[in-house]
């Protein structure tokens, strides 16, 4: 009994163990069916398997462990667990696996085992189900996988090149060259390109060849999947056809790979409303028919992906619509106008009669400015623009927008250019006159011009001049002139006259411009002094003495003073102006212009001042001709024709220069002495003194020679070649050279006859005595003597070597230049310039050696002193 119990005690646990084991074994449901296939387009392994039917019947919750292995790799490349609750219908189970290398590259094998959720025991693994790669096929040449396709930028790709059966791949390269991971397996070569980029070239090229030089190549495009269309919106121009537009984005894929857009109702995206490719513009249109509310979707698709965007709109353009369709009206057309002189009413038409519009008019002003005018909603097809200028061309155009839910303006209409009608001329003409006394009256030349403030407001067709004698109340006389005239000459007697001038256009007359010509009197204004004025860079500067009684000033002048008519010009100035710069394009240097300054009060003008001046003075056209050279034993007297003091001169002649130079070596101005004479001098007396003892000594030493050469039988200084200045010209200046036979005494003439020197007594016309500026010498005087000048008889003489210059332009010899000398001389000349007629004759002081030369020069002269006969035979032509 005991033994039986013992046996039972042993067997019972065993049975329990067996029962437990058997129970667990009955919970294992191994895979009964496994099939593996591939989708090469998607590069996926498709795995299908099943378990026993009882598991399905029990609707067991099961776990499956799936392993994937490649032929060239010893380890499993992928393991995944799938939890599935089985269905009674007994459908097989599916799993897909995305391969990271092309499935063609090598064989792939899959196995599966299972486990009920309630169990802890896995089933046995199924057998490996192998899907052979192309490496096992009987091909001859190498082949690259995957096949050519579009690759996404930023992604990675693994490529393989499979050699033919028994062939080894020698080279497998990618272009452009990038970093790659390479795996080698004799027959199969793998490489991985990470982070693909479109900017590495138009394509990625892969190139592979085997040991027999057989090759295969492939090209891959790299681009981007499309992004969601941006700014997707729809609009209509006529409420019949809707156009939706959006913004394209770069995908780096072109041609047949470029993004394709399809617009469809959101509710039925399979039916396209329209299609577009965005080659030029991203938009497409369709007719909306009777449907008011639209919910549309645009789908963009390229080989790398697909995106959508939607828009909702209400075609019925009600003010309270929450999502009204944007209205982009068509441009207004048939724009026409109706003008007065200051107003323009524009009319137009438009097609969008179903929509309430308001419009905007742009008016282009003549000055280029643009004005915008909005029309009223109640009258949207017309607008009146006011405040326009008469007889002026304006260009207008119109655009319109939806009055409710305004979105954008239409295009502009065709521009309309029109001209307002003529209006009354505004402002007054600027008029002036020139009066010439004639027998029995005066000739009055009237001038008129349009000032900037004058607005013709049309085309001026005539000017009307009305003349009325003031005193006797006679009837005014009117004369009409064509618009081409701007002046006329009339004769009036010596009474006061009132002259008015108006401009006339097709609309009306301008306000009259009036001037009154006073009764003629004997008070000739010709005696007014002519003051000199100066030119500036901007014109000629003129100033006058202001008088409080005048309400304006007028300056007139001739643009061409040497012509007739001289083109009289005038300019008006306010009462507070007392100076002006007169400029004219006609002003040229070297021409003397005369300016008359008038004061005007109550249309009566009175001449106040006269001015003359140059824009810029020019040097005299010709050197003065020396008419006479009188030589005594110690002096030389020169006389020359004076310049005319009138407007024919190209500048104001302020004086003359006389150069005295010893004959030493070459004849030039160096070492010469310049004597400056005021232009109002009649005589210039200069006495040059040589050290008497020196002369005496030389003469005594060479008495015989001196006598033969310098003192012929009939000595005549005038015959001396020494003092002949013929053909002697240096640096454009004529030079008088005093040779060794220098005068030694100063004399001075006041007329034909020489008279003795006496101190200068200046007339009021000469404010400052002008003299040779050599310090310490008062032996040279200049005599302003008008009478003497007139009486001085011109004596034909051989031309002397004398330099005459206008101080304004002469460039004095550098050795003689004295910066203080010229201004003084100018001042003196200026005072007397206008009233003195002159015919100067010069006495040159050569009595003192310093007068004519520096100490050094004197020394040189002393050393070279020799007496030269003044006869022809003594002429030292080579030296002088």
């Amino acid at each position: 009994m005991m033994n039986q119990f013992m046996i039972l005690a042993v067997l019972l646990p065993l049975r329990t163990c067996y029962t437990t084991y058997s129970q667990q074994e009955s919970d294992v449901f191994p895979v009964t069916y496994l099939n593996v296939s591939k989708d090469l387009d998607l590069q996926q392994l498709l795995v299908e398997w099943d378990v026993v039917k009882s598991a399905h019947d029990a609707e067991l919750a099961m776990s499956f462990e799936i392993q994937v292995r490649r032929t060239d790799e010893a380890t499993t490349v992928w393991t995944e667990f799938q939890n599935v609750t089985l269905e009674k219908l007994g459908k097989p189970l599916h799993w897909t696996w995305d391969s990271d290398i092309p499935l063609e590259c090598m064989s792939h094998a899959v196995r599966i085992r299972s486990k009920a959720k309630t169990s802890k025991i896995w089933s046995q693994w199924s057998l490996w189900e192998t899907l052979p790669g192309l490496d096992t096929s009987n091909r001859s040449g190498p082949q690259i996988f995957p096949k050519e396709k579009i690759l996404a930028e930023g992604s990675d790709i693994t490529l393989c090149c499979i050699g033919g059966k028994g062939q080894t791949i020698k080279e497998f390269s990618v272009f452009p060259t990038v970093d790659v991971f390479k795996h080698t397996n004799n027959q199969v070569r793998l490489l991985t390109v990470e982070n693909l980029s479109h900017d590495k070239g138009s394509n990625i090229h892969v190139y592979c060849y085997d040991e027999d030089k057989r090759s295969h190549e492939a090209a891959f495009f790299v681009g981007k999947p499309p992004d969601t269309p941006k700014d997707f919106s729809c609009q209509t121009q006529d409420m019949k056809r809707v156009t939706c537009s959006w913004r394209d984005q770069e995908t780096y894929l072109y041609g047949k790979n470029s993004p394709q857009y399809t617009l469809s109702k959101t509710s039925s995206q399979k039916t396209a409303l329209c299609k577009a490719s965005c080659s030029k513009q991203c938009s497409c249109s369709w007719n909306i028919g009777q449907q008011w509310i639209w919910n549309v979707t645009v789908t963009v698709e390229n080989p790398l992906g697909k995106k959508t965007a939607t828009d909702v709109f209400d075609v019925n353009h009600r003010p309270n619509s929450d999502f009204p369709l944007a209205v982009y009206p068509t441009a207004p057309f048939q724009v026409w106008e109706d003008c007065t002189d200051t107003e323009m009413t524009l009319h137009w038409n438009y097609e969008n009669n179903e929509i309430e519009l308001f419009c905007q008019t742009e008016v282009l002003q003549p000055d280029g400015k643009v004005e915008l005018h909005n029309s009223s909603i109640t009258d949207p097809r017309r607008i009146t623009v006011r405040g326009l200028r008469p007889h002026t061309e304006y260009t207008a155009r119109v655009r319109c927008g939806a009055a409710n839910h305004f979105w954008r303006w239409s295009e502009w209409s065709q521009p309309l250019t029109t001209r307002t009608k003529e209006g009354t001329p505004s402002g007054k003409l600027d008029i002036w006159r020139e009066i010439t006394p004639v027998r029995g009256g005066r000739n009055v030349t009237l001038f008129w011009k349009q000032t900037p403030s004058f607005q013709a407001n049309g085309k001026i067709i005539s000017y009307e001049v009305t003349l009325k004698k003031i005193e006797d109340g006679s009837q005014p006389e009117s004369i009409s002139f064509s618009s081409v005239y701007n002046s006329t000459r009339i004769f009036i007697d010596n009474h006061s006259h009132r002259i008015s001038i108006v401009a006339k256009n097709n609309a009306n007359f301008s306000l009259p411009s009036v001037l009154i010509i006073s009764r003629a009197t004997d008070n000739s204004t010709e005696e007014l002094k002519e003051g000199q004025v100066n030119g500036t860079d901007d014109g000629i500067f003129i100033s006058w003495e202001p008088r409080s009684i005048y309400d304006s000033y007028i300056i007139d002048w001739c643009n061409f003073p040497r012509l007739q008519p001289c083109d009289l010009q005038w300019k008006r100035f306010g009462p507070n102006v007392s100076s002006a710069v007169i400029s004219s394009a006609a002003f040229v240097p070297g021409v003397r212009y005369k300016f008359r300054i008038y004061g005007s009060v109550a249309s009566r003008a009175s001449l106040l001042e006269k001015k003359i001046g140059y824009l810029r003075e020019l040097p005299p056209f010709h050197d003065p001709i020396v008419r006479k050279v009188d030589l005594t034993y110690n002096s030389v007297t020169l006389s020359w024709d004076s310049y005319l003091a009138n407007e024919s001169e190209p500048g104001f002649v302020r004086g003359y220069h006389v150069y005295v130079s010893p004959i030493q070596g070459n004849c030039n101005l160096k070492g010469s002495k310049k004597y400056i004479l005021s232009a109002n001098m009649l005589y210039f007396v200069l006495l040059l003194v040589i050290v008497p003892t020196l002369v005496a000594a030389i003469c005594h030493w060479k008495m015989k020679w001196v006598k033969e050469c310098c003192c012929p039988a009939i000595p005549s200084p005038n015959k001396s070649k020494v003092l002949s200045f013929k053909e002697f010209k240096i640096d454009s200046e004529k030079v008088l050279k005093i040779n060794d036979c220098l005068p030694d005494m100063l004399a001075m003439d006041s007329n034909d006859e020489a008279h003795k020197l006496h101190p200068v007594t200046w007339s009021p016309l000469s404010s400052t005595p002008t003299e040779d500026k050599i310090d310490g010498h008062n032996s040279s005087w200049i005599y302003p003597s008008e009478n003497v000048a007139r009486d001085f008889p011109p004596t034909p003489k051989p031309q002397t070597h004398t330099c005459f210059e206008n101080f304004a332009y002469s460039s004095p010899p550098e050795a003689e230049s004295d910066p203080y000398q010229i201004p003084e001389t100018l001042e003196a000349g200026k005072t007397n310039q206008a009233v003195v007629l002159y015919q100067p004759q010069c006495y040159i002081d050569i009595f003192h050696e310093d007068t004519a030369s520096t100490t050094t020069e004197t020394g040189e002269r002393k050393n070279s002193l020799k007496y030269i006969s003044q006869t022809d035979t003594c002429w030292l032509g080579g030296k002088l």
Partner: protein
């Protein structure tokens, strides 16, 4: 410089058929003979010579630009990739001493082939390199010139030798080929074109020089 085909205008429509990359017989003119009037313009000979000269002058640049636009390895490996030995190209076995008629027929065969091949290359490049505007423009211009050249050769053959039918073989179509193969085929044709056009210019010169 653009050349206006000097040949008879009705030929043009017919010749357009020859762009199609098919092998076969090219008909110069319809019907059973050459037109009897207004066949050639007076300057057709000189114009033909200039057309060949211009193609010769631009061929190398076209080839270089083509290589550049394809990307690597075409530029660096052009000897290998663009080796034309594997493709069909019409034989051009004439020289300066060959008979003029023989030269004209060989020219016709050559440029009929080139016209079709350039059409294919242009089409492929429009698809593969749509942004390569300069290359496309050069391809278009070259194709147009060959078209004018064929027209002129047509009229010369008809006028001088009463030849109105020439057997022409065209190259393989690139349609359906891979991107790389399309590029490679264009490269091979253009490289051979560079070689042959120089020879054609030299051969044609004495035959078309003003007498």
């Amino acid at each position: 410089m653009k050349f206006v085909p000097a040949g008879v205008v009705p030929f043009v429509a017919l010749l357009l058929l020859q762009r199609r990359p098919v092998a076969g017989r090219a008909l110069l003119v319809t019907g059973s003979g050459c037109p009897s009037h207004a066949l050639c313009r007076s300057n057709v000979q000189e114009q033909t010579r200039r057309q060949v000269a211009m193609l010769n002058a631009t061929a190398q640049e076209l080839f270089s630009l083509y290589l550049k636009c394809q990307g690597e390895p075409f530029s660096s490996e052009s000897d290998k990739l663009c080796n034309p030995s594997g493709i069909f190209f019409p034989a051009f076995r004439v020289n300066r001493t060959s008979e003029r008629k023989e030269v004209m027929v060989a020219m016709y065969k050559l440029f009929a082939f080139l016209n079709a091949s350039l059409g294919n290359i242009t089409r492929d490049q429009e698809e593969l390199n749509p942004m390569a505007k300069e290359l496309l423009e050069r391809l278009h211009n070259t194709t147009k010139t060959t078209r004018g050249l064929i027209s002129n050769l047509t009229c010369l053959l008809c006028k001088n030798y009463n030849i109105f039918q020439v057997d022409v073989r065209y190259g393989d179509s690139s349609k359906g080929k891979s991107t790389f193969k399309k590029k490679q085929q264009g490269c091979q044709v253009l490289r051979k074109y560079v070689q042959v056009i120089g020879q054609a210019a030299r051969v044609l010169l004495p035959h078309l020089s003003p007498s």
